[in-house]
């Protein structure tokens, strides 16, 4: 019998626990025998497991019920004044507490089953609140609160190079603040630091592995000697890199990831000394990392990178980006004991500033954890807050239901008390019921949170570390307790109050069923619930408006019907600029020859491309012949490169002058094309056409002005940008674009083939369409908005049931009054109006409070809103209108019932 044919272990364990000891072994063995002999042989394994579960549950139910019956039977005998008591009295007494609890549970279950509507509403309400809160907290917990999986993560600090001149600039500040280190800076830092216990740099490079196994592109980490030691990661086998193995004389040694070790070396324990061929060079294996080791690069533009590396090699391999000079490295350090981040910053600042006075460069130090979660903490905490509001709404609903029930049951309680039931016992009975309800709600909440958490992860918004999110049991417990406590508090309070007084007035009152007090509190709770709902609705509405505004923005080019693919040419085989230009010239022609392609071009700075910031550097330039002001910052702009006809292919309007043509070759005069923003910012009213610009050591002439194109997001401002002709400034990584007739997706395979027809060994990545790139750029906003809308709609549903419940209750309690009013000549419409007015008042009070609260609370949202004020009157008006409509719909049906009261019946009952 194979291991996979085993019975479901969980079901078996549960069954084992619930069977009486005497019958346990026999019953389970019988079941197993049937399962193996008859079920597994006729049904599929899956069906067989279902069968086992069903049988186990049926057995558990049977024994649970029979046990309860048995105890209840004992208990009755104990209560009855017959001689039976003396026979079994001692045994019965020792069990009496458990028995009475079991009896309470049994009674509670029966009582809840008798009121299916109440039970269902309470359970669903609690479940929704608990589910939403737990899901959101799980995300917050997993992404923000759980420590990084490194040793002592609180001491890890990211170290960046900062250009002091640009610190704090809204757009370029971020760019210049998070500059990568070069090797000499790292060496200076490493040799001089006293505030760090150990320091390291790391980077990432895509390489092709050929041996052992099939050729494949892999993400390979570049590490300085101290990296693993700094992170506190201990290799599973072998060692990390030794001092002297990195840097200019980097050795060809490699540390494997656990997964590469398993897939390509079959988890060979004697792997040390074997070789891995990367980009044609043999690297000798010196170590294997433990599973789960990750380190993401955090340079701008790659926030969703998970940090999985197939292998690690020492930095300084000459083949990679031409060796050390060109390497972009991220610094990471472990603070020495007792050193604060400020002390470390002061030291590193001074080190990076060097001899220059005033200094131009400094250090940016950020705790690694904050750096990894970056800008995600505020939106996540906001959503958690929204989920919390939803939980509060749910608690309001439960409180209201419980209060309504408690008031309604005064009569029952009074009678039971009058018949001699002890008050603590009655209270315990009600308590048991509330707890049962709470447990059912929590169970549903747990299910929803479980589904919600997996949904959250599978939707895959670009949030780092989201894949490590699991349902948080702590929060589930917290939220469940909150739900149960609310139920108990509000369910018990009226009965406890009543229990203290004497039964007389209530008994007398019970006949006429005049209920006061409770209903007023209920109305207050409904108002509160509506207020909370209004806050959520406003937040959801504002985000939706903002999202709509973002997607209404023109990206600046004609996005539909454009396909794009990225080709990172290997520098090892395309060494010179002429090689690169020749390759892309050929590729452009081959792509244009593909049937269905209207025109083709390429750029190193693809708008909405996933690595826009990485591939589009910011350049400082001087306009030749213009006096530069002393205190003025030197002009700067983003620099892209373009193949001929880029702007025409993308549909970017050429506003003045011309775009690039085939004539802008390597030997032609140096030209550049600037965007509208650059023209306006740096030339104001003059015409830039014909102006000469100094970039580095060369001078370039402006030949054209093109329209602004959004760079990374529709809602992100356009910055000054210029393009150089690719032939005059060749770059190895180019994104090719092709305008097609009809759906560009259909042509993607042919486009890839066209590239490979020039060179079958170049990688082709990021194959996509411009439309979906633009759509992905808004996924953060969309995700936030979606969640907020889900929360607010859920709150509306809860509020609706709340209004319905309280109105129905009010009407039921006022049956007598209605009857008398009708007997006195009140019209049906008048009665309906009276009820509607009552609940409308409650709703308006709640809405007013909610809108004022929203005005204050949504200030927290302002940083996520695009072209919408937090006090947007349209949103507030819509929310108010929606809530009034919800109120009218929810209270109309109970009001109708009020008007159908038969006055004769009511008066007869008097």
């Amino acid at each position: 019998m194979s291991g996979s044919k085993k019975k479901p272990q969980l079901a078996a364990a549960l069954l084992w626990l619930s069977l009486p000891r005497r019958e346990r072994i026999i019953v389970m063995a019988d079941l197993e025998e049937e399962y193996r002999n008859d079920i597994l042989t006729t049904l599929s394994h899956r069906q067989a497991r279902v069968w086992y579960w069903r049988e186990a549950i049926s057995l558990m139910r049977w024994y649970l019920i029979s046990r309860i019956r048995k105890y209840a039977h004992h208990d009755l005998r104990q209560l009855s004044p017959s001689p039976i008591r003396s026979e079994s009295g001692t045994i019965a007494r020792s069990h009496s507490f458990i028995q009475s609890v079991l009896q309470d549970i049994q009674f509670g279950i029966r009582s809840l089953r008798r009121r299916p509507l109440f039970t269902a509403v309470a359970v669903i309400t609690l479940g929704l609140g608990i589910g939403a809160t737990t899901t959101m907290f799980s995300a917050v917990d997993g992404v923000l609160l759980r420590p990084l999986s490194y040793e002592d993560p609180e001491k890890l600090v990211s170290v960046w190079l900062t250009h002091l001149e640009w610190r704090g600039h809204p757009f370029f500040g971020d760019y210049w603040d998070r500059g990568p280190l070069d090797f000499s800076q790292y060496e200076t830092w490493r040799d001089a630091t006293t505030q760090f216990r150990s320091v390291a740099v790391h980077g990432e490079h895509t390489m092709t592995v050929t041996e052992p196994g099939e050729p494949e592109q892999l993400s390979v980490g570049l590490a300085s000697a101290g990296l693993f030691q700094t992170l506190g990661a201990h290799p599973l086998i072998g060692r990390g890199f030794l001092p002297g193995e990195d840097g200019p004389t980097a050795k060809r040694v490699v540390v494997l990831s656990s997964s590469l070790w398993r897939t390509r070396f079959a988890a060979d324990p004697a792997v040390l000394g074997r070789t891995l061929t990367l980009d044609g060079n043999a690297y000798s294996v010196v170590g294997v990392l433990p599973a789960g080791f990750r380190l993401s690069t955090l340079v701008l533009g790659t926030p969703s990178e998970r940090g999985d590396r197939a292998a690690w090699i020492p930095i300084g391999q000459p083949e990679i980006l031409g060796g050390l000079d060109n390497q972009d490295m991220e610094g990471i350090g472990r603070l020495a004991p007792g050193v604060s981040i400020e002390q470390a910053r002061a030291e590193t600042d001074a080190l990076f500033a060097g001899e220059e006075r005033p200094p131009r460069m400094g250090a940016g130090l950020v705790f690694r954890k904050n750096d990894e979660t970056g800008g995600y903490s505020t939106p996540l905490f906001l959503l958690l807050g929204a989920a919390g509001i939803l939980l509060l709404t749910a608690c309001c609903n439960v409180a209201m239901l419980a209060m309504g029930e408690a008031t309604g049951r005064r009569h029952e309680i009074t009678i039971r008390a009058a018949l001699g039931a002890r008050i603590p016992r009655i209270v315990r009975q009600i308590l048991t019921e509330s707890v049962l309800l709470g447990l059912l709600g929590s169970a549903l909440g747990a299910l929803l949170a479980f589904a919600g958490t997996s949904l959250l992860v599978s939707l895959g918004p670009p949030i780092p570390r989201l894949d490590g999110v699991h349902m948080s049991t702590r929060v589930l417990l917290f939220a469940s307790s909150a739900g149960i406590a609310t139920g108990v508090l509000f369910g018990l309070a009226p009965s406890a109050l009543f229990a203290r007084g004497s039964a007389g007035p209530a008994l007398r009152g019970a006949g006429t069923r005049t209920i006061t007090g409770g209903h007023t509190v209920q109305r207050h709770v409904v108002s509160l619930e509506i207020a909370l709902t209004a806050v959520l609705l406003v937040a959801g509405g504002l985000l939706t408006r903002s999202l709509a505004n973002i997607f209404a923005i023109d990206p600046g080019f004609d996005a539909p019907n454009v396909a794009t693919l990225h080709v990172p040419l290997p520098e090892s085989r395309y060494a010179t600029g002429a090689d690169v230009s020749a390759f892309f010239r050929e590729v452009q022609q081959r792509i244009e020859a593909v049937p269905g392609v209207v025109s083709a071009s390429g750029t190193a700075a693809l708008p909405f491309g996933e690595a826009f910031y990485v591939e589009t550097p910011v350049f400082l330039f001087e306009v030749v012949g213009r006096e530069s002001q002393e205190d003025e910052r030197s002009p700067q702009a983003l620099r892209g490169t373009a193949l001929p006809h880029l702007h025409e292919t993308l549909g970017v309007p050429v506003l003045s002058g011309r775009g690039f043509t085939d004539a802008d070759g390597a030997n032609a005069s140096r030209v550049l094309v600037i965007n509208e923003t650059m023209a306006r910012r740096y030339w104001r009213d003059e015409s830039p056409i014909g102006a000469t610009v100094e970039l580095g050591n060369d001078t370039w002439t402006v030949v054209g002005i093109v329209g602004d194109v959004r760079h990374v997001g529709l809602g992100v401002d356009v910055e000054p940008m210029f393009h150089l002709p690719s032939y005059q400034h060749p770059t190895h990584g180019m994104s090719l674009v092709a305008r097609t007739e009809g759906d560009p997706r259909r042509l993607l395979p042919q486009l890839r083939k066209a590239v490979w027809s020039v060179d079958a060994n170049v990688p082709v990545t990021r194959v996509n369409t411009m439309t979906s790139l633009i759509s992905e750029s808004g996924s953060d906003e969309r995700y936030r908005t979606l969640l907020m809308l889900v929360f607010s709609i859920t709150a509306v549903v809860l509020a609706t049931t709340g209004i319905f419940g309280v109105t129905a209750q009010g009407v039921a309690n006022r049956t007598r009054e209605m009857g008398i009013r009708m007997a006195l000549g009140a019209r049906e419409n008048g009665l309906v109006g009276m009820v509607l007015r009552g609940s409308l008042f409650t709703t308006l009070v709640g809405t007013a409070i909610g809108l004022v609260a929203a005005l204050w609370a949504t200030r927290l949202l302002s940083q996520f809103l695009f072209a919408v004020e937090t006090s947007d009157p349209l949103t507030y008006g819509t929310v108010a209108l929606l809530l009034v409509m919800v109120c009218l719909v929810a209270s109309y049906f109970p009001a109708r019932r009020a008007s159908r009261v038969d006055p004769v019946e009511v008066l007869r009952a008097e």
Partner: protein, 110 residues
């Protein structure tokens, strides 16, 4: 009545099933026998509780059999009807028969 509490309908079914099976009557075949002959769905729990109760009343006797691999090495509990069980069955039949007598025109032969 012979001082013995009368057996219920389901108890009768279980006793009869044990007798019908003869050698090798334990939980699984007992349930199957009742389901096969009566066409009813029988709850597993009910069979075990009833077997246990009948044994407690002294109507059934039981012993443990050899462990087998398909039961993960656990033994079976085999049952046989004791003399008291047969007596109880006979009494039930007598009671039923006398109650039926005279109603044959309406209900048909027993």
């Amino acid at each position: 009545m012979g001082g013995q509490a009368p057996v219920g309908e389901f108890e009768q079914l279980v006793l009869l099933a044990v007798m019908q099976i003869g050698d090798g009557a334990y939980g699984v075949p007992v349930r199957r026998e009742i389901e096969r002959r009566t066409g009813r769905d029988v709850s597993r729990g009910a069979v075990y509780t009833t077997l246990d109760r009948l044994e407690g009343k002294g109507l059934l006797g039981s012993w443990l059999g050899e462990p087998t691999p398909e039961r993960s090495g656990k033994a079976k509990r085999f049952y046989r009807v004791e003399r008291a069980g047969i007596k109880a069955l006979k009494e039930s039949r007598t009671a039923l028969r006398s109650m039926w007598t005279g109603l044959e025109p309406v209900l048909g032969e027993l």
